[in-house]
């Protein structure tokens, strides 16, 4: 532990913020240790420093603190995580302290949880397909190694189930497995337990690291939890060579914690009370993914966030989607129809799909099929809403096929069991099956070549 160790006194306390006297000895974003009269210790971090005082956020909250009888010690360093591959298989709290009853892992390095700024010039473009075994994702929203692809969900929707299914089933072409870094950010304890059980049962727990800030834990800590988790993930990916899948849930709780701190600091709010720097702040989390030239591993992010009141224009999902490389949007309507995974494909997007699929990666017909499914399903949705108004009799004969197509697409292609793992061939053949409901004259995106090579195979198989 470096830096000066100085004791200081507290001037005032407000919410989870504290103003302390520093005599200029505390640096910006450096740690302080607060010792209560009863010996309890808490951690804080400076948000603003001047020659005599500093504003400090207290991670464990300020409950029970009093300006008197509290000792504040400057630790002379920013918040760090001690990393090594001993992190694997362990469970930590939201600040990176072990809570599984085992001793502190031996670290090889202390890393600043804010990470380093990755030089864009040294990034390697992500283009390696990840097979998740989920048809709608592999077929139409393909993920690649190093991508950041969030799940936008709502209350009561099976986002945890889907994320767990991806974590269990995700394989990369050569059959390498992922190491999973899981960060719970203000979620109920049973959500954390669910993930833990899923990872344990699939045997993935020994390649996993869990960081848990649960709903009952202090909100301020939530600002740190994703950064601690990503520090571990970056180390495992870029120093130890693992392909890491980082699941961060629920990023909406993170945004709310940020707003809380901002309000207490009396900053000028922007939309819906969120601070003007929400975009930049979220970017410092989501941009910590990708691949690096000359390094073996990769860091793929699968953040989960709930859309308050199912509103995709809410600042958190909105700004997230501006940063991430696409989004998987879940739909209540589909879920009520009994479809799992209930993905609203028209609102969903994987920006990096185009370079991860096709000949040599998945299959030559993949891109065309995906485009055609989007195209036809979107037309089918128009027909469906028209049919709701004028009745099925009011729509032309040629459009009725679209209604059948939409039903088959949802119930055959999209719908699958949470434990069903479909390989990419199965997924693409299913796509041909549902597409065959429409006459070939409607296939504006399909080339003659693909018809010749793949359609005949599928038709033969069906006979």
């Amino acid at each position: 532990m470096s830096g000066s160790i100085t004791f200081s006194s507290v001037q005032s306390i407000k919410g989870s913020l504290m103003v302390i006297r520093t005599n200029g000895k505390l640096g910006y974003e450096e740690l302080v240790e607060i010792e209560l009269e009863n010996g309890e210790k808490r951690l804080g971090r400076s948000l603003q420093v001047s020659e005599d005082i500093a504003v400090v956020e207290v991670f464990e909250g300020t409950q029970g603190l009093s300006p008197r009888g509290v000792k504040v010690r400057f630790l002379g360093r920013p918040l760090e995580l001690s990393v090594s591959n001993e992190l694997l298989g362990r469970i930590f709290d939201g600040l990176g302290r072990p809570i599984d009853g085992m001793p502190e892992p031996v670290g090889v390095e202390e890393l600043d949880i804010n990470g380093k700024i990755l030089n864009p010039y040294k990034r390697e473009y992500p283009d390696e397909f990840i097979q998740t075994g989920v048809s709608v994702i592999d077929g139409m929203l393909s993920m690649v190694r190093g991508q950041k692809l969030p799940i936008f969900s709502g209350s009561g929707l099976p986002h945890d189930m889907l994320a767990a299914q991806i974590a269990r089933q995700a394989t990369i072409a050569k059959g390498e497995e992922f190491a999973v870094v899981f960060a719970a950010i203000g979620v109920p304890a049973d959500t954390a337990m669910f993930f833990r059980k899923e990872l344990e049962e699939s045997g993935a727990l020994k390649r996993s690291v869990l960081f848990l800030n649960l709903a009952e834990d202090p909100a301020v800590e939530r600002i740190v939890t994703p950064r601690v988790a990503l520090t571990a993930a970056e180390y495992l990916a870029f120093e130890e060579g693992f392909h890491v899948l980082a699941i961060l849930t629920d990023m909406t709780n993170y945004g709310e914690a940020l707003r809380e701190i901002s309000m207490m600091r009396e900053e000028v709010p922007s939309r819906r009370g969120y601070p003007g720097y929400l975009y930049t702040d979220l970017a410092t989390i989501f941009e910590r993914s990708g691949r690096i030239t000359g390094r073996k591993g990769s860091l793929t992010q699968l953040p989960i966030l709930s859309m308050p009141a199912d509103d995709i224009t809410h600042p958190i999902p909105d700004l997230t989607a501006y940063i991430t490389e696409g989004q998987i949007v879940l739909s209540k309507d589909l879920y009520h129809k009994g479809i799992y995974p209930p993905v609203n494909v028209l609102m969903s997007l994987s920006r990096l799909m185009k370079d991860g699929v096709g000949e040599g990666k998945t299959r030559a017909d993949h891109k065309e099929l995906s485009d055609q499914l989007y195209n036809s399903y979107s037309k089918a949705m128009d027909v469906r809403s028209l049919a709701e108004i004028v009745g099925e009799e009011g729509i032309p004969e040629s459009s009725k096929k679209y209604l059948q197509f939409a039903d088959a697409f949802e119930s055959k292609f999209m719908k699958q069991d949470p434990y069903e793992n479909r390989d990419i061939d199965t997924t693409l053949n299913l796509a041909w099956d549902v597409l065959s409901i429409l006459p070939e004259s409607e296939w504006t995106n399909i080339s003659e070549k693909s018809k010749k090579v793949y359609l005949s195979v599928v038709q033969k198989r069906n006979i």
Binding site: L118, Y121, T313
Partner: protein, 574 residues
């Protein structure tokens, strides 16, 4: 030379640092902050104190650490070797950093100072010269002949010009006598917030051809014009901007990735060396400059990156070239303004943005223009700015203020994007004030008929819009046959002209002549179909004819006159 001011930090609040004992420091002066020597800029002076916005992260910075003024405002280095580079928001090259991260306080020359260039003089000593005059050139890349010019603020008698030969950028290659002797090298410095001087502004009459059909044919941009592309997430702003950067017929492209994704810059770095310029056939990397301030980089440098980019574009304009500057996204730049303003505790206007937002946007877009340069050449700077309205709300301050100052407006429509209609430019709400001034160019260079076809096509699309409202309520069956046919014609325009794949080898770039061919094919097919309808053929029969699909798919197959003539013959016989 001004004395360097030295003071110390008294307060750190995010990336804004307050310094004391800095009397004599100037507004917008560059400073070095702290033991690490972080780069910053003075944004407010109060007596002996100054506020500095630091362009790097300030973690660990303490009161009492030194602050040093550098004596000059934020400036760029203008010299051969800029093209083909990728810079951060302060013009520091990203390609020669060791390791994979950018460490704080990093300094580097913007161009390779050890490289020798073959200089060819074009002027003889003894002549009177003024700022902007060309004295010689070097071949910067196969596509760019880089003219060495007298700096704008220098004039007098040219007493020496170096003979043809190899020189480094800092070698003296000319001398100007005007009371005192001024030595001139290939390097110039220019403060980024000051527009470079010109002789006069001219009216733009030539289109910036981008090869993107909906832009060139329907909502064109003139060389020297400005355009904004607002669109919510996932509507394809970045892909459209990448297409423009790849195919526009400008001589120099400056692409500023301002607060966007790191992987998008990598994509440009990966594709630009492989894509060939449609006119010269050389890799477009040889005419491109990239500036990357990705979203995880410090926010203050984001504000600077836009100015660094536009100044580079102006410098190449001054050589008599057409420059194109693309900014993705100007909203992030505005948010950086807001963030800095907030930290300075200024009183906010709308949505927390500072009250000077509109004037900053205005002065940025005003740096576009078709001009006569100081040396008497003609050059231009065109600006295309992406706008990312939060929540897809086009009434927010950045979008509304931008609209007041740009003349072309390409609105990206989420509903088109959801149905995978790309580019998702909405043809009802978009507009361009350049249509009129550019129509002569089309009739002289492409076809006298073009303007008529353009109007016909837009007419069909507008009529479709109103018919669709009826169809949405009552179903298509209620329409008479000729209106059903009009819907089919609109569908052909959408599928066969407005949609354009950025990834299909033929479709991604359509030269002006082929844009005309495709319109002509679709509209002639429609005329023929109308006649057949009168003769008793049904719309359903027309729609299911193979030729219908063939005309729609012409965008993938028609590369020139030969394919056009062949298909046109079939259409005429239809």
């Amino acid at each position: 030379m001004k004395l360097k001011v030295k003071g110390k930090i008294t307060e750190v609040k995010g990336t804004v640092v307050k310094a004391s004992n800095v009397s004599g420091i100037q507004m917008n002066e560059m400073v070095r902050v702290g033991e690490l020597g972080l780069v910053g800029e003075v944004v407010r002076v109060e007596g002996d104190n100054a506020y500095v916005q630091v362009y790097e992260f300030t973690t660990g910075l303490r009161p009492g650490e030194p602050v040093e003024g550098l004596g000059s405002p934020l400036s760029v280095t203008l010299a051969p070797g800029i093209v083909g580079n990728i810079y951060d928001g302060l013009q520091r090259p990203l390609s020669n950093i060791e390791g994979y991260s950018i460490s704080r306080g990093y300094t580097a020359e913007a161009v390779d100072v050890n490289k020798s260039w073959h200089f060819v003089p074009v002027i003889k000593p003894g002549t009177k010269v003024e700022g902007g005059e060309k004295i010689g050139y070097v071949e910067e890349t196969e596509l760019i002949r880089h003219f060495i010019m007298i700096p704008p603020n220098v004039k007098g008698n040219l007493t020496y010009v170096a003979p043809e030969g190899e020189y480094k950028v800092s070698d003296s290659i000319a001398e100007v006598q005007n009371g005192e002797k001024v030595s001139i090298s290939m390097i110039q410095k220019w403060p980024v917030r000051v527009p470079r001087p010109i002789k006069r502004r001219l009216v733009a009459t030539e289109p910036l051809i981008t090869g993107q059909r909906i832009i060139d044919a329907f909502f064109p941009l003139a060389k020297g014009g400005s355009a904004a592309v607002p669109g919510g997430f996932g509507t394809g702003k970045t892909v459209l901007l990448h297409q423009m950067a790849s195919w526009a017929n400008s001589r120099v492209v400056v692409y500023v990735g301002c607060g966007e994704r790191g992987n998008e810059m990598v994509e440009l770095l990966k594709t630009f060396p492989k894509l060939n310029d449609p006119i010269s056939g050389k890799p477009i990397m040889q005419k491109s400059i990239m500036i990357a301030n990705t979203s995880n980089m410090p926010v203050a440098a984001r504000e600077a990156s836009i100015y660094v980019g536009i100044t580079l574009a102006e410098y190449y304009r001054d050589m008599g070239y057409d420059s194109l500057m693309l900014a993705d996204s100007t909203s992030r730049w505005a948010e950086a303004l807001r963030e800095i303003s907030g930290r300075l505790e200024e009183i906010p206007a709308e949505e927390g943005y500072p009250s000077y937002l509109a004037s900053r946007i205005a002065s940025f877009y005003e740096r576009a223009g078709y001009v006569e340069t100081l040396s008497g050449d003609f050059g231009s700077v065109s600006i295309i700015g992406a706008v990312s309205p939060p929540g897809g709300d086009f009434t927010e301050p950045v979008t509304t203020h931008t609209l007041r100052y740009v003349k072309a407006f390409w609105l990206l429509d989420p509903n088109l994007a959801y149905s995978r209609h790309y580019p998702a430019v909405n043809w009802i709400s978009s507009y361009s004030s350049y249509v009129e001034p550019l129509s002569d160019w089309w009739s002289l260079n492409v076809s006298t008929e073009f303007e008529t076809l353009r109007r016909q096509a837009l007419d069909i699309l507008f009529k479709e819009e109103s018919l669709r409202n009826i169809v949405r309520l009552l179903g298509p069956e209620v329409l008479p046959e000729d209106e059903k046919l009009l819907l089919e014609a609109a569908n052909m325009l959408r599928e066969g002209f407005l949609k354009q794949s950025a990834y299909h080898e033929v479709d991604r770039y359509t030269p002006p002549a082929v844009q005309y061919y495709l319109l002509k094919l679709i509209l002639t097919f429609y005329e023929r179909a109308k006649e057949k309808l009168k003769g008793g053929t049904t719309v359903e029969e027309i729609r299911s004819s193979p030729l219908y699909l063939e005309v729609i798919r012409a965008r993938f197959n028609v590369k020139g006159k030969e394919e056009f003539d062949a298909l046109m013959k079939k259409v005429m016989e239809f």
